[in-house]
């Protein structure tokens, strides 16, 4: 945390996006998190990703629950909409907002506690509905805000700052999401923006639920020797499997891909993600194989990162439910309200 706000002055050669805005235009309030917190880096990566896609701030809705991680929605795109819900209940707020206005970009930011402990049920059902949103877990293995208790993502054997050793098995959000039928599953690290930023962009462009589990060291409670979510441990054990390069629709790809190395996935809006396979025998389009491979590597003590699974063909919530094509607030009152007669007809269906 810092006492003086980040000065407004900026570098004159800062690049501008298609809207003529610089990264600085996508910043938010001053972070109150600890100096060096991984969450702040993820905030910076989100800022960069959103800026890079030239999204209009007013078309962004930021949603979160409770936790240090959940505070971060205040720290980027101050021009966007925001809702800070109760602990673990961000998915239902996202669900409702998305149902009412399908045109916004929904960005949920949550913690491992917020998602995998108190909010696990909500999380699971948002995935099942394939809610069209980017869901970022800022995963530090602890409840940071309440002073560092082990969370449900803590590894067996991981040591707390005061020396306790975690005995309960962790919930891996990536494996969980795969088993629940998620259409976009990725993992990354707050300390590797080069990997994270394009993943966030791909997630924002994915139609459906895009989960990105981001290892995010807690410098205050979980960055010591013996922790399995520290900067040093993460750098030693993470294993990039499939990196994503996001290619906007306007930019044509004219080169053929070397088999088994690069794999383009066309997004619903015509843009593409180019999957860059670092592990040759990995197939990010095969759910079962992906799941097996991730577990096999985990057994070796490595966690795979990158875009681990993607399926652009899966139907998202609105398609599954046949909702109107436009946000509800753009419909006339006549269309929105069935009227007395219409209501009678609906009720008659249940008699």
């Amino acid at each position: 945390m810092t006492y003086i706000p980040k000065p407004k002055v900026r570098h004159p050669s800062l690049p501008r996006n298609a809207l003529g805005l610089t990264r600085r235009d996508y910043e938010g309030a001053l972070s109150t998190l600890c100096a060096g917190c991984g969450h702040d880096s993820i905030t910076a990566a989100l800022t960069e990703a959103i800026w890079g896609l030239s999204l209009e701030p007013q078309n962004i809705a930021k949603l979160s629950g409770i936790g240090c991680s959940s505070k971060t929605t205040a720290y980027f795109v101050s021009g966007g909409h925001g809702f800070n819900s109760v602990h673990g209940r961000m998915p239902s707020i996202a669900m409702g907002a998305n149902a009412a206005n399908r045109n916004l970009h929904y960005i949920g930011v949550s913690g491992d506690g917020d998602t995998l402990s108190i909010g696990l049920g909500q999380f699971a059902h948002a995935i099942r509905r394939n809610l069209n949103m980017l869901y970022v877990i800022e995963n530090n293995g602890v409840y940071g805000l309440t002073k560092g208790q082990f969370s449900a993502s803590a590894d067996i054997g991981s040591k707390a700052k005061k020396g306790d050793v975690n005995q309960q098995p962790p919930i891996d959000p990536v494996l969980l999401a795969l088993s629940l039928g998620a259409s976009f599953v990725a993992r990354s690290f707050s300390g590797d923006k080069a990997q994270l930023v394009p993943l966030l962009q791909a997630g924002l462009r994915h139609r459906g639920f895009a989960l990105i589990d981001v290892i995010s060291p807690c410098v205050t409670f979980n960055d010591h020797e013996g922790s399995t979510k520290s900067y040093a441990y993460t750098r030693e054990h993470y294993e990039p499997a499939v990196n994503a390069g996001f290619v906007p629709f306007e930019r044509e790809i004219v080169v053929d891909y070397a088999e088994g190395e690069c794999l383009p996935v066309v997004m619903h809006d015509g843009s593409r993600i180019v999957l860059h396979k670092l592990a040759k025998d990995y197939d990010p389009t095969d759910r079962v194989a992906a799941s097996a491979y991730i577990q096999a590597r985990a057994k070796q003590g490595e966690f795979l990162t990158g875009l681990l699974y993607v399926d652009e063909t899966q139907k998202e919530f609105h398609e599954l439910n046949g909702t109107p094509d436009v946000p509800l607030n753009s419909l006339s009152p006549e269309l929105l309200s069935p009227g007395a007669k219409g209501l009678d007809r609906i009720l008659a269906r249940f008699r």
Partner: protein, 671 residues
């Protein structure tokens, strides 16, 4: 296209690099991989390069051909250079330090910080050529530099008694006697530096008052006599023997019979250039050489000028001539320039001040002849010029498109000065080149005759006061070493000291917040008032409020960002917080290419990159582009490990007093 190309290269590279690990599939769970596995091999470098944010600038991957070595910050020049103003100041004045002292209301302290480096803060706070201002970082961050010069005047105007703080003069002298020729700023600085070391210093000045061109040429409406008297008085008061009205007519005699251990020539560049065109001789009574004319005005030999004046030339002397003319009765003053405005030699502020007084500056007029009727000057005829410029603005061709007559009662020539030494015999071992310019060593300021030194305008032609001061400091070192029998070339090197400014978690002992205030304008005496007398100072100096606002604009460039690579955990906190995107952690590379890969491309090649040693976890490097850093300290405040710290740099720019050893009085006289 580039994305794909990189994909492929990266994948195959990764395969090779990772082969070892894949084969050893039986590693025990959670086994630690040696950190060296994360050193940026070619493959890893590519992985970082390839996922650049949109739009990927498709940097051609380069392998480790010529990586930048870690910056050697122990070299005293490195951090000195970051303080743009101090680096640009010929005398290396610690500008940010005195600005902070002014901010605290410690004017006398601010004055003394100045005096130590530039000797004449009150004079320079008014008329310095201020090379620091175009260099000032603030002019890159916004467009206007800090009003460094005007703030110097604030310190001088508000200081209290300071005589007690001047160096103490030893009662027992060291037995060495030094002659200075000319009482300009160069000689006065030599005296200032040598008197405290026990030297006897005698200054010979041909005029009736000391100060050199500062007295005889810089008009009193820019530089009041009282300021000159005070600051020159401080030096004379240290015990310099000033011989006024005493021209040195023969160097030979001085060397042979003067009994001096060393001679410093600070006689300036006293010869104003003439313009030999038809009509020059007939019209002589109304044609004046600028610097001679200004001297006559200063010493009140000339008190009036005609109604219509033409000034030839557009340098700083021309600006003083035109403004002085207006105060001596001229009604119309035209400054005639041969070339377009961008080629003018005068400083912007001098041009502005002249134009504010309704002087007309006429460009593209080349003098052709003086027009004389009935034996009197009527005006001048000019060729009308036209120029072709290339893309960089240089003149590629010129042509005459016509001619034009300008009426004039007087013409003042302000087309340059030269140094001239008719009083130095050519058989003394003091060599001159074919233009009669003495051969002077640019470091020691010694001539080809040991023990005879030159400085100020006399050494390398006309410059300005602050250069004369620095020449004086350097020459004083040489004089001192010479008199002590030490080699003049064997000088103490500059040094630098760093001291942390951290007070607490979020507390620094300097005001680190960026203040967006705009540059304050100095108030001027009204146009009506200022012409009433010749010596009414036009600039009034900052008010207290203005000074208080202006000091906040200084970015404290001397509070350095100092990086300790081994502490960094690569959390990116500093990078994310830096308001001006100065910082990047990336794979090392060759400088030109590395500059393109930073968060904001480092396009200002005059500003260095600060490259760290390889970082512990990934072997990448921390790169800081010094160009735009506003020294806000946020990087240091955000860093969880104190890998960044904010440290005040003290540049030690040695003067005579710093040179070892103390006196050895029994050395032979040079003559």
């Amino acid at each position: 296209m580039g994305i794909i190309a990189q994909c492929r290269a990266a994948s195959s590279g990764q395969l090779a690099a990772d082969g070892r690990r894949r084969d050893s599939g039986g590693e025990p769970p959670a086994a630690r991989r040696p950190l060296s596995a994360f050193r940026p091999t070619a493959a890893r470098f590519l992985r970082f390069a390839y996922t650049l944010p949109i739009p990927p600038p498709l940097v051609a991957p380069r392998f480790h051909l010529a990586e930048m070595p870690p910056t050697d910050t122990s070299h005293p020049d490195y951090f000195h250079r970051v303080v743009d103003c101090q680096w640009a100041c010929p005398a290396h004045t610690d500008v940010p330090e005195y600005i902070r002292l002014i901010a605290q209301g410690r004017f006398t302290d601010a004055y003394m910080v100045n005096r130590e480096a530039n000797v004449f803060p009150g004079i320079l706070g008014r008329v310095c050529d201020r090379p620091c201002e175009p260099a000032c970082r603030r002019s890159r961050v916004e467009n206007k530099p800090v009003a460094i010069c005007r703030l110097k005047r604030v310190a001088a105007d508000h200081k209290d008694e300071y005589a007690s703080r001047l160096p103490k003069i030893p009662a027992v002298k060291n037995g060495k006697h030094v002659a200075c020729i000319g009482a300009g700023p160069a000689s006065l600085t030599v005296a200032n530096d040598l008197l405290p070391l026990g030297y006897r210093v005698t200054i010979f000045e041909q005029l009736a008052e000391p100060g050199g061109l500062m007295r005889s040429n810089i008009p009193s409406f820019r530089l009041p006599q009282a300021i000159l008297d005070e600051e020159i008085g401080a030096i004379i008061g240290m015990g310099a023997e000033l011989k006024l009205g005493h021209p040195v007519k023969s160097m030979k005699e001085l060397l042979d019979r003067g009994g001096f251990d060393a001679v410093f020539v600070g006689s300036g560049a006293p010869k104003g250039k003439d313009l030999k065109l038809p009509g020059r001789a007939e019209a002589a009574p109304n044609i004046h050489i600028g610097i001679d004319w200004l001297e006559s005005v200063a010493f009140e030999h000339v008190k009036a000028i005609g109604r219509e004046v033409l000034i030839i030339g557009v340098g700083n002397t021309a600006m003083d001539c035109c403004r002085t003319s207006l105060r001596l009765g001229a009604q119309h003053v035209n400054v005639m320039a041969r070339k377009p405005r961008q080629f003018f030699k005068a400083s912007d502020w001098e041009l502005e001040d002249a134009e504010e007084e309704n002087v007309r500056i006429i460009v593209n007029r080349a003098p052709k002849r003086f027009v004389v009727e009935d034996g009197r000057l009527k005006g001048m005829l000019f060729d009308v010029m036209e120029y072709d410029l290339d893309a960089r603005g240089a003149i590629t061709a010129e042509r005459i498109t016509g001619e034009e007559f300008f009426a004039a009662s007087d013409v003042i020539l302000a087309i340059g000065q030269e140094n001239a030494f008719p009083w130095i015999e050519r058989d003394l071992g003091i060599e001159f080149d074919k233009w009669s310019v003495p051969k002077v060593d640019p470091v020691t300021f010694q001539s080809t005759r040991p023990g005879v030194f030159f400085g100020g305008d006399a050494a390398f032609g006309p410059k300005n006061i602050i250069w004369s001061v620095e020449h004086g400091h350097q020459a004083a070192i040489s004089v001192h070493r010479h008199c002590q029998g030490e080699a003049v070339t064997d000088r103490l090197a500059p040094g630098i000291n760093l001291q942390s400014r951290k007070m607490g978690m979020h507390e620094w002992s300097y005001s680190n917040d960026y203040n967006p205030a705009e540059r304050r304008l100095v108030p001027h005496v009204s146009l009506k008032e200022r012409f009433k007398k010749l010596n009414i100072e036009v600039e009034l100096g900052f008010t207290a409020e203005q000074a208080a606002a202006e000091v906040q604009r200084c970015l404290n460039c001397d509070i350095q960002t100092v990086f300790e690579a081994k502490l960094c955990i690569e959390c990116d906190a500093c990078i994310d917080i830096c308001p001006t995107d100065c910082l990047t952690i990336t794979a090392d590379g060759e400088e030109a290419e590395l500059r393109t890969r930073l968060r904001a491309p480092a396009k200002n090649l005059e500003q260095p990159l600060y490259v760290s040693a390889p970082l512990k976890q990934t072997g990448r490097v921390m790169v800081k582009d010094e160009d735009m850093c506003v020294h806000c300290g946020l990087c240091a405040e955000r860093c969880p490990t104190a890998a960044w710290d904010m440290q005040k740099s003290f540049v030690k720019w040695p003067h005579a007093e710093d040179q070892p050893p103390t006196c050895q009085p029994s050395l032979p006289k040079i003559a």
